[in-house]
Amino acid sequence: TEDNVKKDLSEYKGVWVFAEQREGKLMPVVIELLGEAKKLAAEIGTDVSAVLCGDEVGALTHELFAYGADKVYQAVHPELKNYRTDAYTKVIQEAINQYKPEIILLGATHIGRDLGPCLAVRCDTGLTADCTKLEIDPDDKKIRQTRPAFGGNLMATIICPNHRPQMSTVRPGVMDKAEYVAGREGVAIRLNVSFDEDEIRTKIIKIVKEAGELASLTDAEFIVSGGMGLGNPEGFELLKKLAEKLGGTIGSSRACVDSGWIDHSYQVGQTGTTVKPKIYFACGISGAIQHLAGMQSSDYIIAINKNENAPIFEVADYGIVGDLYEVIPAILEQL
């Protein structure tokens, strides 16, 4: 770290977003990161850039401009088509060394949580994991990064005062999306990309898709979630009726996923997906802290539970004590 102390921190400028793409599509979290980056950049008085890696990046560059990126750093190479740790780490580290961003945000996806830590060590700086809130300190303009730890039991605000860039991975589904402005333009900057033989030390043999419903959960305006109170996996059929009537989707507690009732991609919570729909129905869900961590910022929470002391009622805007098999059909009748 002795080198670091000598780093001139004032050379580091601008907020960067890692524009994670898969199969040529931006991940939804990238739009959320751009929304957040805009806010942070406005407070510091700087601009927003996206770093985009892939084998073909033209269309995505325009999309990033439309979502508010002032600059897009493009790394284009056949080896960058799919994410691989060594390839992406090398390219982005070089870009960081050359252009010196002050802040870098990455989505806390399975890719962002692999890339972020590698970059942080290579750039000799800190990384705050899985942030749910970012703020600029009004006095020193440094970033304050708030994140859950201890299984959601504790929130910690982390700072990285003496190292640059300041880096965070950000939990998908938490930040507000950037606005899309059709035709908005920016500056595209090509990065030099080359790889030595054997420099990329992993090989992808194949990519297997098992479920593709994730996006629908983070984007849903209405979510009807079920827990162990359903009693059996068929209970989700009833929830589906309500979800479909509202134009939303179903969700689940982890206990149902662990019981094999429903796929993990439906799980809401600390180790599942974070959601913030207009209405979240929690049906037969007790309200464990790890579940609350993933749905507490929904606009309206409606809890249906047999047990009037269930902790889920503590966060519910409307609570209904009763058997979900009586209450849900009755709600369906009213709609």
Binding site: H110, N153, L154, T157, I207, S297, A316
Partner: protein, 261 residues
């Protein structure tokens, strides 16, 4: 083949209580356990050893002297030997410092084919230490590993993704981080518990692993905890009354009144 598993002793976060006034953890009476993902990592290593008894499995932790308890547990599950990196200078480490210290310990142990870690520890919850340790050792890393097959000096792993998995080939030496889907960890056997008592735990401080106090622990950590607090809960709303039909009717009319449906 030599395999090392990085293991961390953590408070059982299911049992953690928070002091609502001070916003700090009440650690008293909270049991310390082997981090769940690390149990999967150790199981993966032991399963490789089951197939090939010439494989040696070591475990490594950085932590206070109490972590010996957890190391004994790992030895009782079947690990051959254990290393504890323990020093006041290591305290207060963020993941930058933790990975720096672990990497120094691993270099001293030397000559490893596969290093396993857990994906994530249930206290810090960052999932950063595995990939960062690999970077420091300059070996390839695959995170979120849900299946492992050994094929000579190659390892074929499934890397879990949000919507499926990638099948990845990587050469040894490499570092893999385990998720819970990887396997079912075994229990300690009575035979092994007895046997474990005779196994050695090597304890090293900063001088043993040639790390200056400036490069470990709180001092070297780029991140700092500025403050910690209990998550604000959304206040309790309104409990509806009446029969199922009455409550449903009142719910729907309230939601319509709020223009959310």
């Amino acid at each position: 083949m030599k395999i090392l598993v990085c293991v961390k002793q953590v408070p059982d976060t299911n049992e953690v209580k928070i002091d609502p006034v001070k916003g700090t953890l009440i650690r008293e009476g909270v049991p310390s356990i082997l981090n769940p993902d690390d149990a999967n990592a150790l199981e993966a290593a032991l399963a490789i050893k089951d197939n090939d008894p010439t494989v040696k499995v070591s475990v490594l932790t950085m932590g206070p002297p109490q972590a010996c308890e957890m190391l004994r547990e790992c030895l009782s599950m079947g690990a051959d030997d254990a290393y504890l990196l323990s020093d006041r200078a290591f305290g207060g480490a963020d993941t930058w410092s933790t990975s720096n210290t672990l990497a120094a310990g691993i270099r001293k142990i030397g000559d490893l084919d596969i290093i396993f870690a857990g994906r994530q520890a249930i206290d810090g919850d960052t999932a950063q230490v595995g990939p960062q340790t690999a970077q420091r050792l300059d070996i390839p890393v695959v995170t979120y590993v849900q299946n492992v097959e050994i094929d000579g000096d190659k390892v074929i792993v499934q890397r879990q993704m949000e919507d499926g998995y990638e099948l990845i080939e990587v050469k040894t030496p490499c570092l893999l981080t385990a998720v819970k889907e990887l396997n079912e960890p075994r229990y300690m056997s009575i035979y092994d518990i007895v046997d474990a008592c005779s196994k050695e735990i090597t304890i090293w401080g900063h001088e043993d692993i040639k790390l200056s106090p400036e490069n470990c622990g709180l001092k070297a950590s780029p991140t700092q905890v500025f403050r910690s607090f209990t998550p604000p809960t959304k206040g309790k709303g309104e409990m509806l009354n009446g029969t199922a039909a009455e409550m449903s009717k009142s719910l729907v009319s309230k939601l319509k009144g709020l223009h959310v449906i």
